[in-house]
Amino acid sequence: MRVGTILGRPFFWIVAAAIALFVLAPTLGNNVELRESLLLAAVYITLASNLNLMLGYAGYVNFGSIVFFGLGGYFCIYFVNSLHWGLAPAAIAGGAAVSVLALLFGLGILRLRGAYFALATIGVNEAVMAFVTNFQPWGGGTGIYLSTELFKPLGGPAAALWVIYYILVGVMGLSLYLSYFVKLSKFGLGLLAIGQNEDAAAVLGVPAPRYKALAYCVSAFLPAIAGGLYFFKGAFIQPTDAFDLQFSTEAIVIVMLGGQGTVMGPALGAYLYEQLRGWLLTSDTFANFQLVIAGVLLLVIVLFAPGGLMGWLYGRWPRLKRVLE
């Protein structure tokens, strides 16, 4: 695929505009509150659009996608704290380490199909969490605290938060473009074929096990970097936060809400979910019922609108398919 054809597609510019909006909106008014809200949205978009590579394209539900995020956080914090690396190399090395682990896991568990695979992903998350809880070099159950000294190279704590935000928005943008390029590529077509009918795809020459393992590996990289940045920002990591299944759950809700298998869907879903979550948390009646509402939302989508928001939009205005991927 030539670069020119991609630059000619309107969707490329829509994503670019979204990134620009994320960068400019909080910067212009120096609005810290908006920045925090958008930061969380960027994390959600990163998690959801990478989950979508497995869930939406290949049709494999990964209940433990948060394991990438958490492990990435641990690697990054460990590199920064114990080996005194800079944030950028630490986060990237964390992402690479998690991708390699994902490839190894993936070659094993992706021989499994459907429900068996889903069970294995739950097992992987729990096994990793139980392991880290017992792993003393990473602080065991109490976790690792970072000294605020480590924020100095980024210009002190206040400036560091802005730097981390910009990098996270960059990671979010990369996730969206990754999702887009994968969808346009032969690799992505292969994944979509696997999602429709794995046996038929294999017969037609799609190297299904290799593609699935590759998708699993690729979908680990950016969430791991996001995890590194996220926990560095908090200056603290512990197993129950890093491997919180609630994040995995929310990522699934987001992908389904926006529309599985589309590029825009997870982004749209993540933004809406973040808004909804913010509203629920501040409301008196629903503050304790955030998960309940996420659950009801997911059930309604699965039962009545499995295509999600994008599916509904496509159904309403079929021409949108050409513009919004």
């Binding site: 139980a130 017992n134 759950t249 304790n288 309940v292 059930l299």
Partner: protein, 290 residues
């Protein structure tokens, strides 16, 4: 030496209850190819059933079993109608997500009601002594109850008409429909039975260990481990798998801290899943076409 033996025997007793829980998952999978992700919250429902009936209504501990069983059955049938029926025959992704979302709702509601504090139901039963070691009476009683329920389930599946219908639908749904079996009702019944088994095992587990609203996840995972050991879709295998897991826990307890047992269980789970996707025991029940 005798300590190890006692630890193993105790593991067997507790493991049989895990087996009972896993039978619930495996029955549903065997009949309709749906992994019931509400399993964990149904186990917790059984725990709280015991707690409420025993603490608030003063029902004797083991007399709570029949009401918990019946309530589980009815709730399971209702759940089938709400979240599972529309997913039958669709990709596994959809039924996983729908049961998963119901689980979220249930856990969320229970957390809002009871928080995440530890609950405990004090049950005193005389134990059985073997030298210096005493097997708690509750462990023995739980194993006995498990044996009774497993026996009843077996009799139901093999010697009653509805039970035979469940097996027929499990074997081949279209053929069962053709010979006049009302498959939708049978599927609902099977789902109800699976949920009832989860509730009852939860009730029995609550007589053994303290629990919280969030305990369901851990026991659900144990059930998965057990099902995978025994082969998905095979109730006998589930019982044997449960006992095997109990044996493993019993063997491991003297040698490693409890927190590590979990790591090994899950690693074992993933390895077995990869190496033997058909289960270690692979006694597929009943034989399925294709």
């Amino acid at each position: 030496m005798i300590g190890l033996l006692a630890s193993i025997l105790d593991g067997l007793l507790v493991g049989s209850v895990y087996g009972l829980a896993a039978m619930g998952i495996t029955l549903i999978w065997g009949v309709m190819d749906v992994i019931n992700l509400t399993h964990g919250s149904m186990i917790v429902a059984g725990m709280f059933g015991l707690y409420l009936l025993f603490n608030d209504a003063g029902v004797p501990v083991y007399a709570t079993l029949p009401p918990v069983l019946v309530a589980g059955l009815l709730f399971g049938i209702a759940l089938y109608g709400i979240a599972v029926h529309r997913m039958i025959g669709r990709p596994p992704l959809m039924s996983l997500l729908s049961t998963f979302s119901v689980n979220l709702v249930l856990v969320g509601l229970a957390t809002a009601e009871w928080g995440t504090v530890l609950f405990n139901v004090p049950v005193s039963l005389p134990g059985f002594s073997l030298g210096r070691y005493t097997f708690p009476g509750t462990h023995i009683m739980a194993a006995v109850m498990t044996a009774v329920i497993a026996g009843i389930l077996y009799a139901f599946l093999f010697h009653t008409r509805p039970g035979k219908a469940v097996r027929a639908v499990s074997g081949n749904r279209e053929a069962a429909e053709l010979v006049g079996i009302p498959t939708t009702r049978v599927l609902a019944l099977a789902f109800g039975l699976g949920v009832a088994l989860a509730c009852v095992s939860g009730m029995l587990i609550a007589t053994l260990f303290p629990f919280t609203v969030l305990s369901g996840d851990a026991y659900q995972l144990k059930s998965f481990v057990v099902t995978v050991l025994g082969g998905l879709g095979n109730p006998t295998g589930a019982l044997i798998g449960g006992i095997a897991l109990g044996l493993f826990e019993g063997l491991a307890t003297p040698f490693m801290p409890v927190s590590w047992t979990l790591v090994f269980e899950f690693v074992l789970f993933v390895i077995v899943l990869i190496a033997f996707p058909g289960g270690l025991l692979n006694l597929r029940w009943p034989r399925r076409a294709g």
